[in-house]
């Protein structure tokens, strides 16, 4: 088995780890690190029978994940303090939300940037409050990238904190303004859920919609194996509520993201054996195989493989993001830069 496939197989069924040989462990660990899944893998294999050396490596990965969790929660808290005077709802997204709400998807999960969602009409005030509290602009103000973000993206240009060196992405919706689906950002915020400590998270169905949008309606699927693992964990947890699948179907339609959500469910079932409602997921499509191949395109040295397939998905990501004329202009500017 190749690296990506091996990572997926062990996450899906950790008991197969007992049969791995030395070189397979090296492949598994390198691929899991490359996909930023080493913490999740280490927690998944906790208590399983693994070689002593592997146990030492996994124990270190679990300690590291625990420390990252502390940092993620602290960063969320610092953001809450900076934005509290504005009196607006601040919704945590992705990894930070999983950690802050203690969801199963947070187990061992790596957290990079802090992602938050705020009402669009408060963007200026939020940016000013963050700049006043020690965050700084990463992109040159009024440069092409900066203007591009402000005009066309679903988030502000990234800010980075001066002393803590952590990035924050402030979103006002979950897809670029140039994408064809138009998610209902007001509904995302209106139906968000307050958690302890004064911050909010998306409602369960919206959380899946966001994860699916991020993975299948935006971006080139790089690092997608991790995002799909989030979806698996979330679906398994949320599905304990019998009303969940119906809600998911409603919300996917409302945000114009039915196809992305259906694809997320099918790919999660295909790669991680996630139990899904076929009425929402739909029939398997031939093209799903291409998506799966792209998600698993990593060898046992941690290298990306299948360059043509990856390039095709890179092209697709731009196609999804921009109408053709705008894409032409964007590529022209980037090529000259």
């Amino acid at each position: 088995m190749r690296g990506g496939r091996l990572v997926a197989a062990v996450l899906r069924a950790p008991e197969i780890a007992a049969r791995l040989a030395g070189e397979e462990w090296n492949a598994l660990i390198a691929a899991a690190r490359a996909e930023q899944l080493i913490g999740s893998l280490a927690c998944r294999l906790d208590g399983h029978d693994v070689p002593e050396k592997v146990e030492r490596l996994l124990a270190a990965a679990r300690r590291d994940a625990a420390q990252q969790r502390v940092q993620a929660l602290w960063e969320a808290e610092m953001t809450r303090r900076a934005l509290a005077p504005l009196g607006i709802p601040v919704v945590l997204l992705k990894g930070n939300a999983f950690h802050a709400a203690g969801l199963a998807a947070s187990t061992g999960r790596f957290v990079g940037d802090l992602d938050i969602l705020v009402p669009r009409d408060s963007l200026e005030a939020v940016e000013a409050a963050l700049l006043a509290a020690g965050w700084e602009r990463l992109k040159e103000a009024d440069g092409y990238d900066d203007l591009y973000y402000r005009r066309w993206m679903h988030e502000l240009p990234p800010l980075i904190h001066r002393t803590r060196d952590r990035m924050i992405d402030v979103h006002h919706t979950i897809l670029p303004m140039t994408a064809r689906p138009r998610p209902d950002a007001d509904a995302l915020i209106a139906d968000s859920i307050a958690i302890d400590g004064g911050l909010r998270i998306l409602a369960p169905a919206d959380m899946i919609v966001h994860a699916a949008a991020h993975l299948f309606a935006d971006g080139d699927l790089a690092g997608g194996l991790r995002n799909l693992w989030d979806i698996d964990r979330l679906l398994r947890q949320f599905a304990s509520d019998p009303a969940f699948w119906g809600q998911l179907d409603d919300r996917a339609r409302r945000h114009q993201l039915g196809p992305a959500v259906a694809r997320a469910l099918r790919l999660s079932a295909r790669i991680y054996d996630t139990p899904v409602d076929r009425a929402v997921a739909g029939r398997d499509r031939l093209v799903d195989r291409l998506f799966a191949a792209r998600l698993l395109a990593r060898n046992g040295w941690g290298q990306p493989v299948r360059p043509l397939l990856r390039f095709a998905f890179f092209v697709r990501s731009h196609w999804l993001r921009m109408p053709p004329l705008m894409l032409a202009r964007h590529l022209w500017v980037k090529a000259r830069g």
Binding site: W25, N26, R33, A34, R56, A60, Q67, G302, Q303
Partner: protein
């Protein structure tokens, strides 16, 4: 990968893959006599072409692996050995979470360790390498690994990286067969690696209790001053690559080290003076 090699250095096993044969041949030669590596490795390092055609055409080596720095400059194939060394350093600096990593050289005597740390160019590598030939056991010239659980230092005796003037100093001291190739024109000038001696390799699994911390500085008149615990603590946080990432565990380990060890800053004009000063301070600390 086309070519691969594993190395065991102290408690850490590396798996190094390369698109070219030459860097690994140089590595295998330099690391002759190291113990058989564990089958399961701590880190993977990759030496790969920056672009597919750069394997043949004006070959340039990109350093990759489990942990990478974005925008790291690729290197000439002639410096492939250095790329492999830098790749291993990078994995340690970014990925090592089992030990507190100090950017420091260390040597051992009677089960107790001396830690030498300071800015690049302070002479810690050369000093440690010389001490390693004169009655001490070389534990490492680049990273000192402080065990988070028991506060002992673990050896990490990589090939010592000598730069510019230090090369001739060690050539006068050590058999020619322990040296790697001369790497001229690297970003840090001329570099030549030297393999630690048999004693350092044979004892690489033995930890040592830290006993003295020195901050050497080359190129000044001989002088020594004691350094207070607060300053030692701050300087060591700056010389650690993973202090912040380790959180509370890193703080506890560093605090224990600083509380247990006297420390001094030493200025020295030449190697012989430095060695006398080190031996004198070591006797006082004993």
């Amino acid at each position: 990968m086309r070519h691969s090699l594993s190395l065991q250095i102290g408690p850490v096993a590396f798996r190094i893959g390369s698109a070219w044969r030459a860097p690994l041949e140089a590595l295998a030669h330099l690391y002759q006599g190291y113990p058989q590596p564990e089958r399961i490795c701590d880190f993977t390092v990759r030496l790969e072409p920056e672009r597919p055609w750069r394997r043949w055409l004006r070959p340039s080596v990109a350093i990759a692996g489990d942990y990478v720095l974005p925008d790291a400059a690729p290197m000439a194939l002639a410096h492939g050995l250095l790329a492999a060394e830098m790749g291993m350093n990078l994995q340690m600096a970014l990925g090592q979470k089992s030990y507190l990593l100090l950017h420091a050289a260390s040597v051992e005597k009677d089960g107790r360790a001396l830690i030498l740390t300071g800015e690049s160019g302070a002479g810690k590598s050369t000093l440690a390498a010389l001490l390693g030939e004169r009655g001490w056991r070389l534990m490492g010239d680049e990273f000192a690994l402080l065990d988070l659980a028991d506060g002992r230092l673990r050896a990490f005796p990589r090939a010592v990286s000598l730069k510019n003037g230090a090369i001739a100093v060690m050539e006068a001291e050590v058999d020619a067969d322990r040296f790697g190739p001369v790497l001229a024109g690297t970003p840090k000038g001329t570099i030549r690696h030297v393999r630690p001696n048999k004693r350092a390799l044979a004892a690489m699994a033995e930890p040592a209790r830290p006993a003295l911390i020195l901050f050497p500085r080359f190129g000044e008149a001989a002088a020594a001053r004691g350094v207070g615990q607060a300053e030692v603590f701050m300087r060591l946080t700056q010389s650690s690559t993973n202090y912040v990432a380790l959180g509370g565990a890193g703080f506890e380990a560093l605090n224990g080290l600083v509380a247990a060890c006297p420390a001094a800053a030493i200025d020295y004009p030449d190697a012989a003076t430095a060695i006398d000063m080190v031996e004198g301070l070591w006797e006082q600390a004993a």
